[in-house]
Amino acid sequence: MRIKTIFLIIFAFSLLIAACTPKTSPVDAQSLTIMTHDSFAISESLIAEFEAEHGVKVIFVRGGDAGTTLNQAILTKQNPVADVFFGLDNTFLTRALSEELFMAYESPLLEQIPAAFKIDPDNYALPVDYGDVCINYDKTYFSAHNLPVPTTLEALTEPQYATLLVVENPATSSPGLSFLMATIAHFGEDGYLEYWSALKENGVVVVSNWETAYYTNFSGSTGQGPQPMVVSYGSSPAAEVIFAETLLDESPTGSIIGPDTCFRQIEFVGILKNSSNPELAKTFVDFMLSVPFQEDIPMQMFVFPVNPHADLPQAFLDHVDYPEQPASLPPELIDAQRETWINAWIEVVLD
């Protein structure tokens, strides 16, 4: 009877697999758990060094995007599952602080970090890296059409740039929200909606997420879509070179770095309250602010170190344009107004 044996085999197989799956190993002398989002990355060798030096096993738990991870930290705050939380950005900072997730820690390394990044004066959340959400443009399109690359937000409403820009819906995409906030920083809470209706009239294309915008609509990357301008990251031109199919000496894309065209995101780390090992957690935070980790950041996460002593990799020096005047908004204002802004934006742009 073959069918019977088959199912016996399947059951036995699944039992075997279940039995083989690794279990919790309580024998770890010391372990430190870092809760972070799924864009977090680090070099294997670097973390091995840290583990050897401090005799500790570092466990990373990555659960979804930045919003998901913060939700997890909030929901488990009575009963924390990690010691350190990394990946909080300035748009969620106030919310995280008002939930009182962290304990304050004045790291000695904070001295090295410019004041502009230290947004939380009480040091519950310590800055680790920053990145800019910028408009990327397709260099070839603009040179082939003899079109000047726009340098201001205002220019995007000119007829010559009609239907050339794709943006993400701020309700479903974090770069989309950042770009909306750049326009709010520039035009003020009274003026941004007017600007957006002008953009809409000029045929701005809205999609739901970064992946669609960048790989389907944007003409500068591998998707070769119809729009030569996209809301993406300041580091994307460098990524285009690093992840090119063939060796490139120039990036096919660039960033528009006019006044307020880029929105600055700063990412923070915090030690979770009730951490079972706060001393070790502090050591890890110091490690994140120190030069070796800071220099590892660009190639792993495509954002920039806050510690000015850290050197940037060559690709970032060659292919990234840095905005002189990035837009920013106070975190308290973002926290209070985020929903209102998004809803107003939806009514103007989508309805």
Partner: protein, 578 residues
């Protein structure tokens, strides 16, 4: 025999008691792994004890925009999508039931593959075919000398419908053709002998017999469309929002968990309502078993008309389901680097670069996982899922054979996981299972458990009708001849159920291989499944990342086809036992 033993046996002999006993394990599983985390989340969030004082504040709720509009859109698109899926799926089910043709098995496997692909990849696949620079638009532009792409596909309502048909046709094909091929063909013969036309035979004999299967498949497809998320977001674009999309926005982008919970509860209530409605219409438990079965033996199409119809069905399935897959797989072998300075000239060439790069950890990333490891993880989780769901599915199917009242209550509770959004379930898991013995991040068994919750309704909807179709007279005969209950099960039920087991195992496999939402919450960074690995690549800029995402998707399709191949090999070629 002591009185106690006698009473026990008598009690066990009672159908309701027996069904209660059979429900025990599945109900415990659901209660522990589904209702417990879900209720804990709702309780924590709505009472406001999780978030500092932020309980439910309905002040920000705009009922017309956040509830009524998404709800009516959700129901409307789900209904229309389901109808279209039936129109494509039913003729295909007929085809796979009645006919053989060269490459039939392979073709049937191909029609299953869309089901497992992550939406972000499907969107890319449709784009390479129908996007503004897709093959079709480029071809039309070149042929008719147009300056703009003639087909506007992305971000339309049509894209949503097409993608839903693409995803779910396999459900109709598998569920309906499984039931169809097990029909008792003698009834049809009898009708024809009595002078009924083939059409009348179909309407009055075949269709009523197929009704439970068609209803079940329609129900499953409808619920899948009802909770659709990725398709709406990525192919429909920002102007469309289902309830699931609203839940996602509220939970992850506005961090308004109380409102997200209210919307989740609303979605669960809708699911409950749909299930109860379905059970009422389909008459759960009202199948008239037939005593002798002579099954349909697939044959070659002989008449010209038959061949023509077959040709039409196969062509439309190829266009709808296979073409986007092929276009996607092809793209993973094609290099599209523009030569510098001339963007219109693309240096197209075949390449294996994307596949080679998958195995290279260029940046020394701690979380790098080679594709073979991701494939192994996916397979492991899939086979555990099959094990769990078949065990529980069989128990539920037997429980549903009798004890009607109990089933009316318990069956909808079993279907509810189909209406739970991955976000709420994932967050619930994290609240409940964050300490031994079940720790979300350290004990990967929770991943197949989450997959099983979604797969179980499929397995039950497949096994239960098949079991009810087994005539009690077969059991009675076997018993009368002195067979023990176990032997009756082994030699009567098991062979008759084998085809349904097969379909169930395939659903378990495909649901587990393709699941993305809950997996992202539960997967440990060093244990990614294939869809999670695909997402890692496509969420970064650069031609290489995009190519590697498509290469990984192609690997996912091959892995799935291989899995289906193994499962199908396990079944002996059909033989007529009676």
């Amino acid at each position: 025999m002591s009185t106690k033993k006698f009473l026990l046996r008598k009690w066990l002999g009672h159908p309701v008691a027996r069904s209660l006993l059979l429900w025990l394990l599945p109900a415990a599983f659901l209660g522990y792994f589904f209702y417990q985390p879900l209720l804990a989340l709702f309780n924590l969030v709505l009472s406001g004890s999780a978030t500092s004082g932020q309980g439910l504040n309905l002040g920000t709720l705009n009922p017309s925009r956040m509830i009524w509009r998404p709800l009516s859109f959700t129901a409307g698109q789900a209904g229309l999508s389901t109808l279209l899926t039936l129109i494509i799926g039913l003729p295909a089910a007929w085809l796979f039931t009645y006919f053989t043709f060269p490459g039939k098995k392979f073709f049937k496997t191909l029609t299953t593959l869309p089901f497992i692909l992550p939406t972000v990849v499907v969107a890319a696949g449709f784009n390479t075919l129908l996007g503004p620079r897709g093959w079709i638009n480029l071809g039309l532009m070149a042929y008719f000398n147009l300056t703009a792409p003639p087909i506007q596909f992305l971000n339309t309502f049509g894209a949503i419908l097409l993608a839903h048909v693409f995803y779910n046709t396999t459900i109709i094909i598998r569920v309906v053709s499984n039931a169809w091929s097990q029909q008792n063909i003698r009834l049809q013969h009898a009708a024809q002998v009595l002078g009924a036309s083939p059409w009348r035979t179909f309407i009055e004999v075949t269709l009523p017999q197929l009704r439970p299967a068609i209803f079940a498949a329609t129900f499953l497809v409808f619920l899948f469309n009802f909770t659709s998320f990725g398709v709406i977001l990525m192919l429909g674009g920002p102007q469309f929002a289902t309830l699931e999309v609203e839940i996602y926005i509220q939970a992850l982008h506005l961090l308004n968990l109380p409102l997200a919970s209210v919307l989740s509860i609303l979605q669960l209530l809708c699911t409950l309502l749909i299930t109860v409605g379905h059970n009422w219409v389909s008459g759960l438990g009202k199948v008239s078993p037939t005593s002798t079965a002579r099954r349909i033996v697939p044959r070659k199409p002989d008449k010209l008309m038959e061949r023509l119809v077959l040709f039409v069905i196969i062509t439309s399935l190829t266009i709808l389901l296979v073409a986007p897959l092929t276009s996607l797989a092809l793209r993973s072998f094609v290099k599209l680097e523009p030569t510098r300075g001339e963007r219109s000239e693309f240096e197209r060439g075949l390449t294996l670069q994307f596949y080679r790069e998958l195995a290279v950890n260029r940046r020394g990333d701690l979380f790098f996982v080679p594709p073979i490891t991701a494939a192994r993880n996916s397979f492991l989780f899939a086979f555990i899922t099959i094990g769990i769901t078949l065990t529980l599915g069989v128990l539920v199917a037997y429980a549903q054979k009798n004890g009607a009242i109990l089933n009316k209550i318990l069956d909808p509770l079993l279907m509810l996981p189909l209406g739970a959004s991955a976000i709420t379930l994932g967050l619930g898991f994290i609240i409940i299972f964050n300490h031994p013995p079940f720790s979300t991040w350290r004990f990967p068994i929770l991943i197949p458990v989450a997959h099983s919750l979604v797969a179980l309704p499929f397995i039950v909807r497949n096994l239960s009708p098949a079991l009810k179709n087994i005539s009690p007279s077969l059991h009675n005969a076997a018993r009368a001849l002195g067979a023990s209950p176990l032997r009756v099960w082994r030699e009567v039920d098991l062979p008759l159920l084998a085809p349904s087991f097969l379909v169930s195992a395939i659903f378990g496999l495909t649901i587990s291989l393709g699941e993305f939402g809950a997996s992202t919450f539960l997967v440990r960074p060093d244990y990614p499944t294939l869809p999670v690995a695909i997402y890692r690549y496509i969420s970064q800029p650069g031609a290489l990342n995009y190519g590697q995402a498509l290469a990984m998707s192609t690997i996912l399709m091959v892995v799935c086809a291989f899995g289906i191949f193994i499962i199908e090999r396990l079944q002996k070629p059909e033989k007529d036992i009676f």
